[in-house]
């Protein structure tokens, strides 16, 4: 239930910390976000802040354009963050990376890279069979259940299938640097999603 920011993943690199250790970081490009709507219990039944980015980057159709009344920029990407209260927020206000401080813990949400139809080894970390010595049980899933009793395969049994393109949250990732001049946020470690994919960063729920 905390406010966050929207941005795009740029890639990974490393930076040296003050004590000389090299820290692997993910670079997130976070241009200032515009508050495009405030959700209140009286009007909408819940409390949230709607943020928009990339104004004018994509041509919007009439219904989408209608969402941005008056002076608001026509943002191509719009997402909401549930908050406890919208006090102090105004329409059209911009929020930038100064929202986060160095060393602060954040939750990072992205959509993981698609892996297509994946087998059980890749998808569920099953063990593989032997490669040689006459084996023909190389990457098979193995047993998927007992025999006559229960006489069926239990629901939820882990099998091969589509993997990736899931919403993935990385909790308690630490902010290495928040650069207001470059509009860049450096997060320690990796972050789900491909390069240029939409990433949302919010203050960590668990602290």
């Amino acid at each position: 239930m905390t406010i966050g920011l929207l941005g795009r993943k740029v890639g990974m690199t490393q930076v040296f910390a003050a004590d000389g250790t090299s820290v692997p970081v993910t670079v997130l490009a976070i241009e200032p976000n515009t508050v495009t709507k405030l959700r209140t219990p009286e009007q909408d039944g819940y409390t949230a802040v709607q943020l928009g980015i990339e104004a004018g980057k994509r041509r919007l159709n009439k219904p989408d354009q209608g969402q941005f009344k008056g002076e608001l920029p026509a943002c191509a990407v719009v997402r909401e963050f549930r908050v406890d209260s919208v006090d102090g927020m105004t329409l059209g206000q911009t929020l930038d990376v100064s929202l986060f401080a160095e060393g602060e813990l954040v939750d990072v949400v992205g959509v993981s890279k698609g892996k297509g139809f994946a087998g059980t080894i890749k998808r569920h970390s099953f063990q593989r069979g032997p490669e040689t010595h006459g084996a023909d049980h190389h990457r098979e899933p193995g047993s998927i259940g007992a025999g006559t009793t229960p006489g069926r395969v239990y629901k939820g049994t882990r099998m091969a299938g589509h993997m990736g393109v899931d919403r993935v949250t990385v909790q308690k990732a630490s902010v290495v640097r928040a650069d207001g001049a470059l509009n860049v946020l450096l997060i320690k470690g990796s972050v789900p999603g491909a390069i240029n994919s939409l990433i949302s960063v919010s203050k960590s729920v668990e602290i």
């Binding site: 740029v10 890639g11 690199t13 490393q14 930076v15 040296f16 003050a18 000389g20 090299s22 670079v27 490009a29 650069d179 470059l182 860049v184 450096l186």
Partner: protein, 151 residues
């Protein structure tokens, strides 16, 4: 990617000498002993260069009291105080792993003479003798093209 460049370029050292494999270097690295910090000097032959940009590392090999010691340094790390190139060795390999099998006098490389960082007069002359004048390859191409034309 340009954003990554601007972020990392600020941390790249600009005062580094040009280091090649085979060079004899003196690396001054900061080491922490207890709660005291001091500078440790490691001198040896550059056995390999690895990576690039901020992640560039050099592996330096020396024989310390009869035992081969290899240390890998992150060149751009703030823990590396200074790197000095003392000598250039002649090597025909990018990685000098063969040094690990060599003992005694054979473990040292022949020295490339001249001022460190500058090719000697003899070498420049030799290079000029080997490399043909610049227009030559162009002429060769023209000849080839005209030969193909009739076909």
């Amino acid at each position: 990617m340009d954003l990554i460049r601007t972020l990392t370029d600020a941390q790249l050292k600009t005062d580094l000498p040009e280091i090649k494999t085979g060079d004899t270097v003196k690396v001054s690295a900061k080491v922490v002993e207890g709660n005291r910090e001091r500078i440790q000097v490691f001198e040896g032959t550059v056995m390999r260069l690895r990576g690039g940009g901020l992640g560039l590392t050099i592996t330096v090999r020396r024989i310390a009291s009869g035992v081969g010691v290899e240390r890998t340094f992150k060149v751009h790390s703030p823990r590396i105080e200074k790197i000095e190139v003392l000598r250039h060795g002649i090597s025909h390999r990018a990685q000098l792993y063969f040094l690990r099998d060599r003992v005694g006098k054979r473990s040292s490389l022949r020295e490339k003479l001249g001022v460190p960082g500058e090719a000697s007069v003899a070498e420049v002359a030799a290079e000029e003798a080997i490399t043909p004048p610049v227009p030559a390859p162009v002429e060769a191409e023209v000849v080839e093209a005209s030969e193909q034309d009739p076909a």
